[in-house]
Structure formats: C-alpha cells, structure tokens
C-alpha cells in the first residue's frame, strides 16, 4: 500500500523489539468476540488511477457552476478565486500543519490568523474578531449563546431576514441548551419588519441578517437603538461578505456582534462546506467570545511574535465551564480568505463589490422585463427576490433543463410558508452579459 512505509521485514524486527510474536498480541485488550478476524465487507485497496477514475465519474454527473450561466446564492456565492490563493494554501507548511499550540514553530499560521482577525474587524467595523468558526450558521448559534452570557438573559429574537437554515441551527442549539427563542415570519422585501416591537426587557439579543435572505438591505440603526434601549444586543449576520465592500458595515450601525460567512472570499462553493465563520465583536466582550484568538506578544529575545491567547475560555482548559465546546477553527479557509483579501486590498475589494452590485442591478433590470416577473426588492446588493407567475421550484427545474442554474426557490428552504412563487437570484462578477441575456431568454421561455 503506497501510503504505508513499513515492510514485512520492518514489522518482524519491530515485533522482536517489542517482544511480541504477532501484531495480534498487541490487540489482546480487545474483548475476544469483538475482534474482527477477516476483512470488513468493502472493496480492497486501489491505485491512484482507479480511485481517480471512480471519483471523476461521480463528479461528472454534477453540473458544475463554471459550465453554465449560474445565479444560485442564498448563503453561498460563486466568486472568482485568484490562482495564487489555491497555490498558496496548498503549501505543505500551511496544509499539513496542526493547530498552532507550539508558537515557536507555527508563526506562519499565527501571523496569518492575526492578519485575518484584523481584516475581519476592519471590514465589519468592529473592534476585534476571532480566528474563525466552522461557518456562518454555527457562528450565528454561538453568537446567540454569547449574548446570553453577556446579558445574563435567555431569550433571542430572530428576524425574518435570517437565512432559514441559520435560524434552524440557532433553534436547535437554543432548544437543547434550554433557551427561549422567537422566530419572526419570513420578512419579504418591500415591507419593513417591526422587530423593535418584539424586543422586551427579557430579550438578550435580536439577530438580523443584511443583506437579508431575500436580498434586501436592512437598516440596522433603529434596531440597534431599540435593542440597546432594552439592554439587549444586536447580532448582525452577513452571509455575503463581498457586500461590505459597498455597504455600510454593521459596526457603523450599532451592532454588538457581527457574524459572517467568509466563503465568498477565497473559498469555493464545495457543495456547502468547508466554509469559514467570521465572528467580530466589541472589545469589552472579548472574554465572552467563543473560539480561538490569536494575540501579539514578544519572544525571549524580544522579537515580535504571535500566540493563541485567552485560552482559558476554551474547552481544553475550562472543560465544562468553557464559553463553547468548539475545538477547531477553519484554519485553511481563513488563510484562503486572508490571501484573497490581501490581493484585493482596499481598492480591489471595493471594486469587486461594485461589479457585483452592477451585475445584479443589470440582471434585475433584464428579468423585470420578462412577462410574469416582479422584482420585490428596493435596496439590494448582488441578490434579489422575484415573484414569478409559476411555482418557482418548477421554474428552476425548467431553467436547469435549458442549461441555466437560475437561483433558489424560497419554498426549498421554507416549504408550506405560502412562498411558492418566490425565486431568489444572485449575480456576481463571474456572470457575463451573455449569461444574463441567456437567463432572461430562458426565463421568458419557461414562464
């Protein structure tokens, strides 16, 4: 087997040193009836050629985003990833290194985490950010738990702008941890959700997404004011992180915690994971934050260096009193994010955001002309919702048959909510004029 260096001669010699007759002797603590004598019922070993052939065959059955005009978003977005990003993250020293618990020989990881934390804090307009969470949805759950710790209250209010699967993740965690939750009905564009009316004296936090699940931008300022007036926190959720190159950041609108999904920057679609959860907050809350934090310090020679810090919040020290049971971050995905953001820089990031917005505005204008289409959004970034004259799920299916991946029917995530005619559509810098024209033409055929 190509990955196993020991030869039969090695094994014999080693057993001699151990003083065992066979490797079976080493497994003698396993209860006898649980020892498998033969092989499990699975195929035998295969060479690279065979494995590659089998997996390529599965891959070929999928329609990849690059092969068609592609407009699917709803929490994961297809953006261009510069070639340098994927090259750099595959360097052995990044790819095959462990968590940087030995800072003397992991300054590479630690320094990029420090850079990552800085970028995320700057972009969200917050004081500090952690070294990432699993993804946006789980980060959102952790943010709610953190708000409960900070406020010593136990009820969260989730806005109808929140991605339904994020809401489900929060609900799951809240239910099991014994916290209360109010989930507002889906907030369709064009109507202002009166969330302030739902904030009471026992409310720990309100969770609002912008751009919202239906693409509409949300004014966080009045919500922050209402929350703060009652001693509650505002958690802002940003699943499309490119938006912050063009849109006022939550930190400037009064958010106390910002949770983001960083997939859009540097990371591919990957059918839903791995992604990278971004988590930023105010300085005064740092000890209540979940997840790893990297901090600056000096070494024995007085040189600047970085370490994981404030780890007494974490499970490996605090055990059952930890702020979270989280034990990992999204290391390599943070690195991809950081490298891509480094390449973009201030100008590149803002321009990328403008291109995205222009692409979506152009698409909205084209689709609005198709009979049977009504665009619902007033203010949006690179995603919007349209009402179509047929069930959106059927429309998406029919579009796929015509070689266009046209978005996400709201009913896929919100079945039975009476939203069967809503289709959520995204357009990014990847789409060309021709792609958008093809979409409009195909939609006209379908409707």
């Amino acid at each position: 087997m190509r990955y196993l260096p020991l030869t039969e001669t090695d094994r014999r010699e080693m057993l001699g040193v151990i003083g065992a007759k066979s490797v079976d002797e080493l497994f003698r603590d396993v209860p006898e009836h649980a020892r498998l004598e033969g092989l499990v019922d699975l195929p035998r070993r295969q060479g690279e050629i065979e494995v590659e052939r089998a997996l390529a065959k599965m891959a070929a059955k999928n329609v990849s985003a690059s092969s068609v005009p592609f407009f699917v978003g709803a929490g994961a977005y297809r953006h261009h990833v510069p070639a340098a990003v994927d090259h750099l993250i595959q360097r052995s020293e990044f790819l095959t290194s462990y968590t940087p618990y030995q800072p003397e020989i992991t300054q590479g990881t630690l320094q990029y985490l420090f850079e990552f934390q800085t970028q995320v804090a700057m972009i969200t307009g917050m004081d500090v950010a952690n070294a990432s969470m699993y993804d946006g949805s789980t980060g959102c759950g952790e943010a709610v738990l953190m708000a409960h710790r900070v406020t010593k209250r136990k009820k969260a209010v989730l806005s109808g702008t929140l991605h339904p699967q994020y809401a489900e993740v929060v609900k799951n965690l809240s239910d099991f941890a014994g916290y209360d939750l109010e989930i507002m009905p889906p907030a369709l564009p064009g109507k202002v959700e009166d969330i302030a009316a739902h904030i009471a004296d026992d409310t720990s936090c309100v969770v609002v997404q912008t751009p919202g699940f239906f693409g509409e931008l949300v004014d966080l300022r009045p919500i922050a004011e209402a929350a703060h007036a009652k001693g509650a926190l505002l958690i802002a959720v940003v699943p499309e992180f490119v938006s912050l190159g063009a849109v006022t950041p939550p930190g400037e609108m009064g958010a106390d915690i910002v949770v983001g999904e960083g997939q859009s920057i540097g990371n591919g679609l990957n059918f839903g994971g791995p992604y990278v959860g971004l988590f930023a907050t105010r300085q005064k809350f740092i000890r209540q934050m979940p997840g790893r934090l990297c901090g600056e310090t000096v070494d024995a020679d007085g040189k600047r260096g970085f370490v994981l810090t404030l780890s007494t919040r974490e499970q490996h020290i605090r055990r059952e009193k930890a702020t979270s049971n989280i034990c990992t971050n999204s290391g390599l995905c943070c690195l991809a994010f950081t490298i891509h953001m480094s390449l973009l820089g201030e100008e590149g990031y803002k321009r990328l955001a403008r291109i995205n917005h222009a692409a979506a505005v152009d698409l909205a204008e084209r689709l609005a002309k198709v009979p049977g289409v009504e665009i619902l959004n007033q203010a949006f970034f690179n995603e919007f919702t349209m009402r179509v004259s047929k069930p959106a799920a059927d429309v998406v299916d029919a579009l796929a048959d015509r070689g266009v991946l046209g978005g996400v029917p709201a009913s896929r995530l919100l079945p039975g909510a009476g939203l069967d005619d809503l289709l959520i559509v995204a357009s990014t810098e990847i789409n060309t004029d021709d792609d958008r024209a093809a979409y409009a033409a195909a939609l006209e055929e379908v409707l």
Binding site: R287, S311, T312, I317, R318, K321
Partner: protein, 125 residues
C-alpha cells in the same frame, strides 16, 4: 479583632467585626503561576457559602474562587482587576478579592486556622 481562616480550596478569610475579606493563598497563586485575569462579582450581590465569588485565571488554568462564608458583597478589589499581577505579588494582602458583610459568622468555625492550613498544604506534597 482580626482573625484569618483557610479553606481546603486555598481561599483565606480575614475577619474584622462582621466584615470578611476573601482572597486566595500564597500557595494557590504559586500553583496557578502568573495571574492574567480576575473576574469579580457585582457589589451588592448576596452569595452563599460555597458559591462562586470570583474567577482567577493564569495562562494555563482558570479557577473559581468560592466564598467560605455567606453574605452581601460590599466591596471588590478593582486594583487586581486592572493589574492581575497584584495577586502574585501579595496574595495574602493587597491581592484580596472581595469583602462581604457576613450573614452567618458561625460558618467560620468549619474553616482551618493558620497552623491547620500549613499542615494541610504540607500534606499535599
């Protein structure tokens, strides 16, 4: 009259009338190593003997400080909040954590005196 008592969790209580001052022992600060953070309760809070009164953290460990006596928190040592190194420097004096107005001074009777604590610590080695 001032009197000092100890717990087997390495807290000390210094009593002055019905006021109890609570801290961690010199032995405890040595075991913890460099203290980096101290979390203190709100003044006015009422706590029962055995409740968590404060949290003390070093780089590698976090420990709860339990109050050996019940009462109302009347003062906390904000100096060690700002400069946690103070706990290492003078654990038995300026590095105190909280002052309580005791509700049940009889709780003191269960605690060790200085000699008993000394013996207790020696027994740990």
């Amino acid at each position: 009259m001032s009197d000092i008592r100890f717990t087997d969790q390495h807290e000390w209580v210094r009593v002055d009338g019905d006021i109890a001052t609570i801290g961690i022992t010199d032995y405890a600060q040595e075991q913890l190593g460099d203290v980096v953070y101290v979390e203190l309760p709100d003044v006015g809070k009422t706590i029962e003997a055995g409740d968590e009164a404060a949290v003390v953290e070093s780089v590698k460990a976090a420990s709860e400080v339990y109050t050996p006596v019940s009462g109302e928190v009347i003062d906390v040592n904000s100096d060690i909040e700002a400069t946690p190194a103070g706990v290492n420097e003078d654990a038995m004096g300026d590095g105190w954590f909280v002052k309580l107005r005791m509700s049940d001074p009889s709780e003191l009777e269960k605690l060790m005196d200085e000699n008993a604590y000394k013996e207790f610590v020696e027994g740990l080695h």
